[in-house]
């Protein structure tokens, strides 16, 4: 009986929690943003930095008086990179009255995609999800808000072209990718550009988890002898690849990592900044510490008598979190103008998102111009190279081969 009573107690506790959570809601003058995150799952290395950055930005906005007197609140739910939990999180935040949401993870984004239109719920998916979502007419409520894999591929080829003397004809480019849908996503663009620019390309699939690349490194450096390497790897594998290429004597300044192969953690895991000297990374948010918004956040912490959080040591993923939050706040600001100071509807937030332009946050955010048809905002990327222990700007914000990318977006199924 004792056993039984104990079990009952546990159940009662859970039930009480459920009931309590349901009642503690609703506040006027608050704009609710739903944030999904992954702090415990497969991509926690990103989530544990990205999501605190978003919260920091929301706090910064509130410390400066909010948006026209409205407080922003980012309700965060951890989905653990799982689809059922992402659906539960979405439905909960919808019920709580979220005006805009951050989706987290490619499978989660595609799984929720059909609901967005039905619920008229604007969402951003930072660097995840489908490149075709750049088309605002087909995916009206999904805002990639950052360069998609297709724009990244176009930017990468353009950078390679500059590095190889302005002409790719007859040059050899190796594309090293993680063998999953996200890894294969840039391929249609690369294949089109291969025909257009007349270079030779060979693809090298890295089976997950990609921690053993010895054979591929030899294959790439000894057999294929590429002039340039584009690397689209995730998790632990970028660092293994950097280390391997360095060991094989391949010049790292002829290597470019796409967005998920380009954080501080990858450089450090590859053996440190000295090892990775020259390695190029492609970014959709500015990397480094030299942005006023980062200084403001540090000042905000200092005012509370605290040190800046350790997440701020990361300047790549953290800045992406800032970009993500900043775009949403900007969208809400525009929405408040549309609604005339009233609490905006989700449709008005969507319209607000589609008016974002001339908003760069001191260079951290690219010169986005989000419109009703282009939800990507132009596909801007910037290349940062590893120089003297930090990421240094190689190029300004640029976008390349827009016709190719736009055509692919238009004809995508």
């Amino acid at each position: 009986m004792k056993k039984l009573a104990r079990n009952m107690l546990t159940l009662a506790g859970v039930a009480a929690g459920l009931a309590y959570a349901g009642s503690a809601m609703a506040d006027d003058k608050v704009l609710l943003l739903g944030v999904q995150c992954d702090r415990t799952g497969a991509t926690q290395i990103v989530g544990t930095v990205l999501c605190p950055a978003m919260q920091d930005y929301f706090r910064l906005v509130n410390s400066k008086g909010g948006i026209d007197g409205w407080t922003v609140k980012g309700d965060e739910i951890d989905n653990g990179y799982k689809v059922p939990e992402a659906i539960e999180a979405y439905e909960r935040q919808k019920q709580m009255g979220a005006l805009i949401m951050t989706l987290y993870g490619t499978p989660q984004t595609v799984a929720l995609n059909q609901r967005l239109e039905q619920d008229k719920m604007p969402t951003t998916s930072p660097g995840f999800g489908i490149s075709a979502a750049a088309d605002g007419t087909r995916f009206p409520y999904l805002f990639p808000g950052a360069a998609t894999y297709w724009s990244q591929a176009a930017g990468a080829v353009s950078f390679a072209k500059d590095q190889l003397g302005g002409d790719l004809k007859g040059k050899k480019i190796a594309y090293v990718y993680y063998d999953n849908p996200a890894g294969k996503e840039p391929m249609p663009i690369l294949e089109t550009l291969q025909k257009q620019e007349g270079f030779d390309m060979r693809t090298f699939a890295v089976p997950p988890p990609g921690v053993e690349l010895g054979a591929q490194i030899i294959d790439i450096t000894q057999r294929y002898h590429p002039d340039f390497i584009i690397m689209h790897l995730f998790g632990r594998s970028p660092s293994v690849a950097i280390k391997g290429l360095k060991g094989a004597g391949f010049p790292l300044k002829k290597v470019l990592g796409l967005v998920w192969a380009s954080a501080e953690a990858d450089i450090i895991a590859a053996g440190g900044w000295a090892t990775a000297e020259g390695y190029n990374t492609l970014q959709f948010a500015g990397a480094g510490d030299d942005y006023p918004v980062r200084a403001e956040i540090k000042a905000m912490y200092k005012k509370d008598g605290k040190d800046p959080p350790k997440e701020m040591d990361d300047t790549v993923v953290y800045n992406r979190g800032l970009l993500q939050a900043a775009i949403q706040v900007q969208g809400l600001t525009n929405a408040l103008k549309i609604s005339g100071g009233q609490k905006p509807t989700t449709e008005q937030v969507k319209a607000g998102m589609e008016q974002i332009k001339d908003f760069t946050l001191g260079g951290l955010v690219p010169p986005l111009q989000i419109t009703a048809t282009d939800h990507e905002g132009g596909g801007w990327v910037q290349i940062f190279g590893v120089h003297d222990g930090k990421f240094a700007k190689e190029t300004e914000w640029f976008h390349a081969y827009r016709d190719v990318v736009e055509n692919a977006v238009k004809t995508a199924e």
């Binding site: 459920l18 702090r39 951890d78």
Partner: protein, 355 residues
């Protein structure tokens, strides 16, 4: 107290074989059914129904896996892959030939059954943990195939969009409508499983589980019935995959990876091997517990942690509590939630007396 067996006399074979011989049990089942079929869709809002939808999908999959693991004693870590076979079969049928759900759903199940039967062939020679590894291989092979064969996966994204099903010309769009749609198949699966396990086939499964050599000696064709078990179980898994794809509106292979297989295995083990009710309880437990623990922590976590830390603490502590509760329930009752429920029922059967 509640379970009064006295005065219930069985006068026919039909009465003896009834699923619920006691009137009180029949009433209880009727009340539960009415609650979930009538009351819930009428009075619940979208959010609880969306959780119930996730549970309903999990119930079908857990039932199927329990037929294989619980009733036949053949372990499988390939459920996720069989689900993906069903999902992609249905997705391709829907998008290429415009098949309605009543074609796509059984077709997905049958294709999964076929693949499952092939995967089950090694079960004649290998047992236990070795068979687990063979099914693990199947999981990885199927994942790889779907990822690389674009004819199946429909492009480098490996995801195929499926429109929501139409019933009698009405497209099901709201959570409520999908709930009723899913509920129909859950009831079907429950009734089918309850009847399967007391049929000739089900008894053969149980005989194989308990002692396969003895089963062979009394004339059960082990090979045939093991393959039946794999096929039936995979059929359920395939249907689960189709239902999930319909619910989400997309078939995406990343939704059916190895962690999904392990989740389903956890459901049948926690719920109770070899019981229908156990599968249901397990599916509820594994789906609901993470949600419940998070809500609980969000409500009361503020007492113990500062709000700045809370966002980081909740997801991690949730995993700890989730794992801890699984261990707790299994230590309290190693035979699963189903046995726990039976203990409670038996206690109240003679209450207030001790026997």
């Amino acid at each position: 107290m509640f379970h009064r067996e006295s005065g219930v006399f069985k006068t026919s074979y039909a009465a003896d074989m009834a699923l619920y011989p006691l009137p009180i049990a029949r009433w209880a089942v009727a009340v539960v059914a009415a609650l979930f079929i009538v009351v819930v869709p009428l009075f619940c809002s979208d959010y609880p129904i969306s959780i119930l939808n996730l549970i309903l999908i999990a119930v079908v999959g857990a039932l199927g896996l329990n037929i294989l693991v619980g009733y036949t004693g053949q372990i499988s870590i390939g459920t996720g892959a069989f689900m993906s076979v069903g999902a992609y079969t249905a997705a391709n049928l829907v998008t290429r030939v415009g098949a309605p759900f009543w074609v796509a759903l059984p077709a997905g199940g049958l294709m999964a059954a076929l693949v499952g039967a092939v995967v089950g062939i090694p079960s004649l020679r290998i047992k236990g943990i070795y068979l687990a590894i063979a099914t693990l291989a199947a999981q990885l092979i199927i994942e790889w195939t779907i990822n690389h064969v674009q004819w199946i996966s429909g492009g480098v994204q490996a995801s195929v969009q499926i429109p929501r099903p139409s019933v009698f010309g009405v497209q099901l769009t709201s959570e409520r409508q999908i709930y009723c749609f899913l509920m129909f198949f859950v009831v079907l699966a429950l009734v089918a499983t309850l009847n399967l396990v007391r049929s000739r086939i089900g008894r053969a499964f149980i005989a194989i589980r308990d002692q396969d050599i003895a089963a062979e000696i009394i004339g059960i064709n082990i090979f045939k019935y093991k393959l039946y078990a794999f096929a039936i179980s995979s059929f359920f898994a395939g249907v689960t995959g189709v239902l999930e794809s319909y619910y989400l509106g997309i078939a995406n292979y990343e939704q059916f990876q190895i962690d999904v297989s392990i989740d389903y295995l956890a459901m049948v083990i926690i719920g109770g091997l070899g019981s229908v009710l156990g599968s249901v309880l397990g599916a509820i437990f594994v789906t609901l517990l993470p949600i419940a623990t998070r809500l609980f922590l969000e409500s009361f976590g503020g007492i113990f942690f500062s709000s700045a830390n809370l966002l980081n603490v909740i997801p991690n502590l949730r995993l700890v509590i989730f794992g801890g509760l699984i261990i707790f329930f299994l230590v309290v009752e190693p035979e699963g939630l189903n046995r726990l429920w039976r203990n409670i029922r038996n206690y109240f059967r003679v209450w207030p007396f001790s026997y």
